[in-house]
Amino acid sequence: MPVPLEHVIGLSAVLFAIGTIGALTRRNLVVIMMSIELMLNAVNLALLGFSRAWADPTGQIFVLMVITVAAAEVAVGLGILISLFRNRDSVNVEDVSLLKW
């Protein structure tokens, strides 16, 4: 393994943090979803790092599963986004705060 595992995990941590910031601070729903994708990728990176370290393909299987779930999530999420845009003519996350007291 060319680089110490710490660096891989650290990178994944940084990516996850960036993704979190994006998901928390951006208001464009599309970008929020992209940030979530980024977080998922960070997790994948960590999984692959460990899988490499332990020489155990299970981690890679998990990554495949995560990718699948991400695809499904994007499909459904974007579908929701489209119908939302049709109804409210906006993808600003703050315009969809109807479901409250």
């Binding site: 710490e6 660096h7 990178l11 993704g19 994006g22 994708e37 980024l38 299970t58 695809a71 993808v91």
Partner: protein, 167 residues
């Protein structure tokens, strides 16, 4: 420092920069999407360095090739013009975000040194499609099948949601 290591750090830098570009670019959604693609491809490179060849290809095929294109597709479909989101958030939320991020990073960093496993030597053909495929269709066949159900549900859901009601 081996060539692989150099590549790793180059890709890592690319990924971080692209990710930041995606998150911080408030003017242009498509640009964000493109920087996400860059991040994905760079990550794929890192995966190759981590001996996960199959995953790397899948990463490009699915993420770069399909998911982000889907994002772009939607952005164009809705024809989102840039400026709508230029208005900055309230400082409080930003601060909270930063604090939380700091937390996460701190926790992870505290976790890192020493607590990680020793690196093992790799078996032949590790991460190749044969290896992973065998694993996938023997030990993890049930999750695999369940995933197919998930995808089916996702397809149906997407169609139902995005279909334009004709009435």
């Amino acid at each position: 420092m081996s060539a692989a290591a150099v590549l790793f750090y180059v890709f890592a830098a690319m990924t971080v920069v692209a990710a930041l570009g995606m998150v911080l670019n408030v003017r242009n959604t498509v640009a964000s999407a493109m920087s996400l693609v860059v991040a994905m491809i760079a990550l794929a490179g890192i995966y190759v360095i981590l001996e996960a060849h199959l995953v790397a290809v899948i990463q490009i095929l699915v993420y770069a090739g399909a998911i982000v294109v889907l994002f772009l597709f939607v952005v164009m479909l809705l024809n989102l013009r840039s400026d709508a989101f230029a208005v900055p958030r309230s400082r409080l939320v930003k601060l909270l975000g930063m604090v939380v991020t700091g937390w996460i990073l701190w926790v992870f960093v505290r976790l890192l040194p020493g607590s990680l496993p020793a690196v093992k030597a790799l078996p032949e053909g590790f991460g190749g499609f044969r290896d992973v495929g065998r694993e996938l269709f023997t030990s993890f066949v049930l999750p695999f099948e369940v995933t197919s159900f998930l995808l089916l549900a996702a397809i149906v859901g997407a169609v139902v949601l995005a279909k334009r009601r004709i009435d």
